[in-house]
Symmetry: C2
Subunit: 345 residues, 2 copies
C-alpha cells in the first residue's frame, strides 16, 4: 500500500487559490533572446581547465527556469531597450545566480537541488567554492568587456546584499524568536536583491539614466523577488517533493525559520505555541510529528498569513508597474508576478 | 631534552644564501599610504550585519604584510601616479587577497594561517564562503564607486585566474607525475596573477594607457609573484614553523606537489625516485620518514633547483624594470624582488 506522503494533506489549500501560471507564458515575448542567453552561457562556461569544464558542464545542464534573465529582458523590452547588451546582461545575471546557488548549496550542505545532484554533492564543498568564485569573476569580467558600467555597479551591490542575506540566515538559524521584519530583511537580501538588480539593469540598458525610473524598476524587482521567496518558503511545508525535487521540512531542519512558522508562533494560543516551539527546534520528525507541526501552523493561521503577505507584496509590485506602457512586455511582467505567487515549484 | 625540530637540518642552507630582506625596507616609500589603506580597510569591513562584523574584525586583525598593496603603491609612485585612486585600488587589492585566502583556507581545511585561527577554523566553512563572497562584492562595488574601470577589468581577470589556480591545485592534488610547466602554470594563476594585477593597476592609475607599459608592469608582477610562491613552497620543507606559523609538510599532506619534489622526482636515481614517490604520497610522516624525504630531495638537488628557478624568475622580473626611472620607488620594487626570494616567512 502506498504511504500517504507527508505533504499531501495541506498541499491543496496552498495551491488551489489561483490557477497555476506557467513560466512559458511569462517567457513568450523574450523566448528567442533566452535562447541566445543559453548560447552565451555555454560559451562563458568554457574554460581552459578540464575540471572546471566538467563541473561547469554539470551546472549548465541542470540550470533552472531562468527567471532572472527573463525579468531582465522583459524590463528592457518594456522600455524598448532589448539590445545585444540586454542579452549579455541577462547571461551575466544567470551566471551570478548560478554562482550564488553553488555557494549556497555548499553553505547549506544540500546534496540535491530540484532533484539533481549539486556541485558539492557530486564533487566537494571545495569544488563548489572554486566554481562559484570562477563564475563570479567571469560575470564581472564579461560586464567590464562589454563596458556595462551601470550593470556592474548594480550587480556588485546585489552580490554584497546576497552575502548579507546568507550571513543573516547563519545568524538567525534555529532562532524561534526571529521576527517578521527580520525575516523579510533576510529574504529581501537573499532573493529580492538579485531580482531587483535584474529589473533595474534591464531598464538601465541603453544608457538613459532617469534615477527615478531605475529606482522604480529596482523596487518592482525587490518586491517580486520577496513575494517569490515567501512562496518558496511555503513549499518547505506544503509542496509536492516529486515536483520540487526537495523533501519537505528540509529548510526547517537546516534551521530556517520562515514566515508560516513565525506567524504561527506569534498568533498561536499559549499552549499551541509551546508545542510548536518544541517541534520547530527538532531536526528530524516522525510523520506524526511533522503532521502535528503542520496542523498547528495551519490552526494558528500561519500558512494563510504567509500567502496573504506574499499576495500583498505582489500587489505592491503590480502597482509599481501601473504607469508603464501597455503591451506584451508589461503583460508578461504582470504574468511574472502571478507566477511568483501561483506556482507549484 | 629538546627535540631537534624536523625542519632544522636543512633550514640554514635555504636561508643563508643572501641576507634576509625585511618588508619594512620595501614599504618605506609608501608607509604613509599603507596607513591610509589600513584606515580604508577598517571602513570597508564595517557592515550592517553583526556576524559579518565579528568575522571581518577577526580577518582585519590578522591581516599580513600587505605585500600586494605595497607593490601596487610602489608601481604607481614609480610613474608619478600616487593619488587617492591608488590608495583605493591598494585597499581593494588587499580585500580581494583577503577574500581569496579565506576561501582558500576553507578549500584546504586549514585551521591556522600564520599561527592564527582561520575563519573556517574559528567559525565554519560556511561562514568562510559568505565572508569571502562579501569581500569580493565590496571590492568590486568600491572600484565601481570610484570609477576605476581599468582596475575593475584587471581585478576581474585576476580573480578568475586565481580560481583557475585553485581548480588546477584540485586537479593535480596527490599527482606525483605533475610536471614543472604544470606547476608553474598553477602558481602563476594562484599567486602571480594577483601580484601582476597589483603592478598593472598601480601603473594604470591616472588614466594614461600605454598598453605596452601596462603589459610590462603586469609581467613584472607575474614574475615577482611566481618567484615569491616558489620560495613559499620551499618553506613547506625548510622553514621554521615558529616563524611561519605553519607546521612543515602541511602542504604536501594536502597533496600539493611543489617544485623541490617535482625536480627531485625528475632528477633522482631510479632507486631514490621509487622511495621518494612512496614517501611523497603519504599524508603523515614519522620524524624519521620526513627526514628521509627531505634528504632524498636534497640529494637529488630539488631544493637547489627550486632556489635557482626562483632566482631566475626574480632576475627576469628585475630585467623588466630596467628601463624605469631611477629613484626610491624603483629601488623599493627591486627590494621587493630581493624580499620575494630572501625571506624567512
Amino acid at each position: 500500500m502506498l504511504r500517504r506522503p507527508l505533504w499531501a494533506a495541506a498541499a491543496r489549500p496552498a495551491l488551489e487559490r489561483s490557477p497555476l501560471v506557467s513560466i512559458t507564458q511569462v517567457q513568450r515575448p523574450v523566448r528567442r533572446e533566452l535562447e541566445q542567453v543559453q548560447v552565451q552561457l555555454r560559451e562563458l562556461f568554457r574554460t581552459p581547465i578540464p575540471i572546471l569544464n566538467q563541473v561547469g558542464g554539470h551546472v549548465l545542464a541542470t540550470r533552472g527556469k531562468k527567471f532572472r534573465p527573463t525579468v531582465l529582458l522583459l524590463s528592457a523590452k518594456l522600455r524598448g531597450r532589448l539590445s545585444a547588451d540586454a542579452i549579455v546582461a541577462a547571461t551575466v545575471i544567470e551566471m551570478v545566480h548560478a554562482a550564488a546557488l553553488i555557494h549556497d548549496d555548499a553553505v547549506d550542505k544540500s546534496g540535491l537541488r530540484r532533484g539533481l545532484p549539486t556541485v558539492n554533492g557530486l564533487w566537494t564543498d571545495e569544488m563548489a567554492i572554486i566554481m562559484g568564485d570562477y563564475l563570479y569573476a567571469q560575470a564581472m569580467a564579461t560586464l567590464v568587456r562589454h563596458q556595462l558600467g551601470h550593470a556592474m555597479g548594480v550587480m556588485a551591490r546585489a552580490v554584497g546584499e546576497m552575502s548579507c542575506g546568507e550571513a543573516l540566515e547563519f545568524q538567525y538559524a534555529y532562532d524561534p524568536d526571529v521576527t517578521e521584519p527580520q525575516y523579510e530583511e533576510l529574504i529581501f537580501a537573499k532573493t529580492g536583491s538579485l531580482i531587483g538588480a535584474a529589473t533595474e539593469i534591464g531598464v538601465g540598458i541603453g544608457r538613459t539614466r532617469d534615477p527615478r525610473m531605475l529606482e522604480r524598476y529596482r523596487r518592482f524587482g525587490d518586491h517580486l523577488g520577496t513575494a517569490f521567496q515567501i512562496v518558496d518558503d511555503l513549499f518547505d511545508y506544503l509542496a509536492d517533493p516529486q515536483v520540487t525535487g526537495k523533501p519537505v521540512g528540509s529548510d526547517l531542519a537546516d534551521g530556517k525559520i520562515t514566515l508560516p512558522l513565525i506567524a504561527a508562533l506569534r498568533d498561536a494560543t499559549e499552549r499551541d505555541r509551546k508545542t510548536l516551539r518544541a517541534l520547530a527546534l527538532k531536526k528530524r520528525w516522525t510523520p506524526g510529528q511533522w503532521d502535528r507541526l503542520r496542523t498547528l501552523i495551519e490552526r494558528a493561521g500561519g500558512f494563510a498569513y504567509a500567502r496573504r503577505r506574499a499576495q500583498q507584496i505582489a500587489d505592491q509590485a503590480r502597482a509599481l508597474l501601473a504607469g508603464e506602457p501597455r503591451g506584451v512586455a508589461r503583460q508578461a511582467l504582470e504574468r511574472a508576478i502571478d507566477y511568483a505567487v501561483a506556482r507549484d515549484h
